[in-house]
Amino acid sequence: MDDKFSLDVDGKTHTVTADPDTPLLYVLRDDLGLNNPHFGCGLAQCGTCTVQLDGQPIRSCTTPVSAVGAAKITTLAGLGTPDKPHPLQTAYIEEQVPQCGYCINGWLLTAAAFLRDNKKPTEAQIKDALSGLKCRCGTHLAILRAVKRAAAMMG
């Protein structure tokens, strides 16, 4: 049976009616029309569906909408805007990171939480924090350059 859920997404409150088992990904994409979290595997293996719940990166493809509760959801669109970009977004543009760009949610939202909690990280710490996220186009080095650049910007 469908239930009603109130979701706080990027600072806006939305009410949706959905099967409680529906993964958050489909609610965001299909019910709220937010295209930026992508379907990549449905298995929490790649990170393309990443959003933050109260600042922590989670895989929305395996998180039921009923598990979100009152947590604040941040998508990539809520991380920053062209007028007020997050340092990672600026760094991604400067370093021209993506190829196809489909993987971008996982890297940016995971790195944003990591850099918030870890000032001046080493390269090894950055790699460990991002381990498991997938990029198929082979932009690994560009991602690392951008995260290091953003870390420097964030002091």
């Binding site: 295209n35 449905g42 991604y92 543009i93 196809c100 940016l108 690994h140």
Partner: protein, 766 residues
């Protein structure tokens, strides 16, 4: 991004006519009738038909001064559209930012072959360059008539034709044609796809005059991506659209014999589409389609696909009857040379099936309105996908419009085109627009695969230690069981599952290099596909088709010969390689990498000299790829206790002729190298005697960011006088051999089977 729908601007001439004016440019010194006649010859108010021999099919000057460049290929994320815009802006003498490249829409561009064979610049750019040059020539002619000045005295800056001295004597492109269309014929060679070429009378610029080509211009489409404002194929939504999921058999070759629609009756709007072997479900909501696909009760036919045990795949290839054999290259008398050899060196190499495994499984949307069809696809050859959808729906090609929307990466014939064909059949069956989204399992398990192969290589050495003969043989699954595009139903899953038998192409390839051995033979043999239709192991193009496997073998073998002859691997190559550009990339990479001349393996890494289990080494490889040249040096660390290889550093020397955008080129090379490291170290499609068992990122691992190299150093060799050639694939093919050669240098052990996963390497080391 610069993929914008074609502007539907009202014809400027019509606007002027309707306002009662007939004059395009006031104050023209040329008699009005004469100017109009000249214009009418080359300008049209209505858009001429979209044909390869029309200038209007490639270039338009819009009323707002922007230039549209209609490009019948696509940009899979390598920034190709920037290079194309640079080439067009350069030839037209307009600002770079004025050019909008309109990509991959069959409604606005002719079939230039889509993404294919690293020909984006080499062929596609060449055509746009020729068209832009012709457009400039025509505009200068028009300007000459308008200004009453001979064309030879005119020049163009920022889209303004002028004499350079008299300010009054100038007229802009917008004034000359803005919003109207070129009515100019080109000398089309009659071909479509990659070989399409249709130049005009104009000669493109001399490279010494370039101002925009060669500049490191950045991609403007990165910002929309990082701010989540760019749609992918999977983001396309059409009113009334149903969500669909396909259902594939658990045993390859099985077809549904009974489908219990009652099993999904409780799911709102869920509906089955069943057409012979093709089975899918649709629902209004995506989650409901997913549930229906999971819960639908299906009885499948018995099938026992003749898949060999994974462990005996290469034996299967060795023993399988040869279906076709071809000698690709034959110089001198190879057999005689081997008979008289003082010494013969031989080795055999093996390469597995590999998957595109695009980061997102394919998605496609098809909307059928009466007999008009619109398709949104991530297929990198949208014109061919249009042809396939028309064929499977039984419609004329003109009734189908395919719109390419960026997908989750594409490196050849991935699963995108198959999804389009499925969506077409489902949309027809349910009478509403359908969005097919494949699952991860389908994206990895059911996409076309890069073929598995074995390579037998031998060299004849004379008494003086000289290589006098070389033979390279491949035996393999064909290069394409299904063609590299989806234009024929027999090349698609949907076609094969609805009764059209596979028509496997027979072919393979040979190494590309310039070793000047006196006697040389390269041949290939193919073996039959494992299933005659609907196979999860059907082969097709995967980035740099055949390049990685063939050059893993050929360039590993050159290293083996160098070792056998007690020669440094770089010195060996410089002794035998004949082409000056090849020699240049080898020397450049050796210098940049700080190559230390010695015979492999290293002698200083045994006993007490090694601390811990890690040893390091360096390896070189070099290739041509019609006609780009690449040489690479890999610096690796090998952990002998775990078998794990870390490629610490790659050095690349790359010569693709004239460089259009050096920064973009570096990014493209880096992507090639990292993806190819992944294929070399990790990637192998696993299968059982039932079906493919590589179905996700656990069962088909790729290179993790913790395994990325520290550094990729790239030397670009720019040759402005040589036509630009491909960069999207060449740097893929030398990677595996460079790593294998470095592993040998480090350990003294030769790895002849890919992938070099820790288990395989550990087994080889023990």
């Amino acid at each position: 991004m610069r993929h914008e729908a074609q502007r539907v601007a009202p014809s400027r001439r019509n606007l002027l006519k309707s306002a009662g004016a007939l004059v395009v440019s006031i104050g023209s010194p040329v008699p009005l009738d004469f100017a109009r006649a000249a214009e009418d010859a080359v300008i049209s108010g209505a858009k001429p038909p979209l044909k390869p021999d029309r200038l209007s099919s490639y270039i338009a000057v819009n009323a707002d001064g922007t230039v549209s460049a209609f490009y019948g290929k696509i940009d899979g994320g390598q920034g190709l559209h920037i290079a194309i815009a640079q080439m067009v802006a350069e030839e037209l003498d307009v600002p770079f930012k004025a050019v909008k490249v309109v990509i991959g829409d069959t409604g606005t561009s002719v079939n230039q072959g889509g993404a294919s064979g690293a020909t984006g610049v080499q062929n596609g750019g060449k055509q746009l360059r020729a068209a832009a040059a012709e457009a400039r020539r025509v505009l200068v002619e028009l300007g000459a008539e308008k200004l009453g000045v001979p064309a030879e005295r005119l020049t163009v800056d920022n889209g303004v034709v002028h004499t350079g001295t008299e300010m009054a004597k100038s007229v802009s492109y917008v004034e000359l044609i803005g919003g109207r269309y070129f009515n100019v014929a080109l000398a089309w060679n009659g071909k479509i796809g990659n070989p399409l070429y249709a130049p005009g009378k104009a000669k493109p610029k001399d490279p010494k005059d370039y101002k925009i080509v060669g500049q490191p211009i950045k991609r403007e489409d990165v910002a929309p991506l990082v701010f989540a404002r760019r749609d992918f194929t999977s983001d396309i939504k059409v009113p009334g659209m149903a969500h669909a999921r396909m259902i594939r058999p658990g045993v390859a070759g099985a077809v549904p014999v009974n489908v219990d629609e009652n099993s999904i009756k409780h799911i709102p709007g869920a509906r089955v589409v069943w057409n012979q072997g093709l089975l899918g479900v649709v629902a209004d909501k995506e989650w409901d389609a997913i549930k229906a696909a999971r819960e639908l009760k299906v009885t499948w036919s018995n099938a026992s696909p003749p898949f060999p045990d994974q462990a005996s795949l290469y034996d299967h290839i060795r023993k399988a009857p040869v279906r076709k054999r071809e000698v690709a290259e034959q110089i001198g008398n190879v057999d005689e040379a081997f008979k008289n050899a003082a010494r013969v060196i031989e080795a055999e190499y093996e390469w597995p099936f590999q998957s595109h495994a695009s980061l997102g499984p394919a998605c496609a949307v098809v909307d059928i309105k009466g007999d008009e069809v619109t398709l949104w696809t991530g297929s990198q050859k949208p014109h061919f996908t249009r042809d396939g959808v028309a064929a499977i729906l039984g419609l004329p090609v003109e009734k189908v419009r395919a719109i390419w929307v960026p997908g989750p990466g594409s490196y050849g014939r991935n699963d995108a085109g198959d999804a389009a064909m499925d969506a077409a059949l489902l949309a027809k069956a349910v009478g509403r627009p359908v969005r097919v989204q494949y699952t991860r399992e389908q994206g990895t398990g059911w996409d076309p695969k890069g073929p598995a192969s074995i390579h037998r290589v031998r060299a004849a050495i004379d008494a003086a230690g000289k290589v006098v003969a070389y033979e390279f043989g491949s035996k393999a699954f064909p290069r394409v069981d299904v063609n590299s595009n989806e234009s024929k139903p027999h090349d698609t899953l949907a076609g094969q599952l609805t009764g059209v038998a596979l028509q496997s192409g027979d072919g393979f390839g040979a190494p590309e290099d310039s070793y000047g051995f006196a006697n040389k033979r390269a041949y290939w043999e193919t073996v039959a596909p494992l299933l005659d239709r609907g196979s999860p192991l059907r082969t097709s193009h995967l980035r740099d088709p055949l390049g990685p496997q063939i050059h893993f073998a050929s360039e590993s073998f050159m290293d083996e010969v160098a070792v056998a002859l007690n020669l440094d691997p770089v010195a060996f190559r410089l002794q035998y390689v004949t082409d000056p550009r090849d020699i240049a990339v080898i020397k450049a990479v050796a210098e940049k990498s700080g190559w230390q001349s010695r015979v492999s393996p290293r002698k200083d890494q045994s006993g007490a000299k090694v601390s811990g289990s890690k040893v390091s080494g360096r390896g070189i490889s070099y290739v041509q790829r019609h006609p780009t040249r690449v040489a690479m040096v890999a610096d690796v660390e090998v952990d002998r206790s775990t078998g794990k290889i870390w490629v610490r550093k790659f050095t690349v020397a790359h010569d693709c002729g004239q460089i259009i955008n050096p920064d973009g080129l570096r990014q493209v090379i880096e992507g090639n190298v990292v993806q190819s490291i992944s294929r070399t170290l990790w990637e192998e499609v696993k299968f059982s005697n039932k079906t493919v068992t590589s179905v996700d990122w656990m069962s088909y691992p790729i290179l993790d960011i913790t395994e990325a190299p520290e550094t990729i150093d790239i030397v670009l060799i720019d040759r402005p006088e040589i036509e630009p050639t491909g960069a999207g694939e060449p740097a893929t093919r030398p990677v595996a051999a460079a790593i294998a050669n470095a592993v040998f240098d480090a350990t003294g052990v030769r790895i002849r089977r890919a992938p070099f996963s820790p288990d395989n390497v550990k087994a080889a080391l023990s």
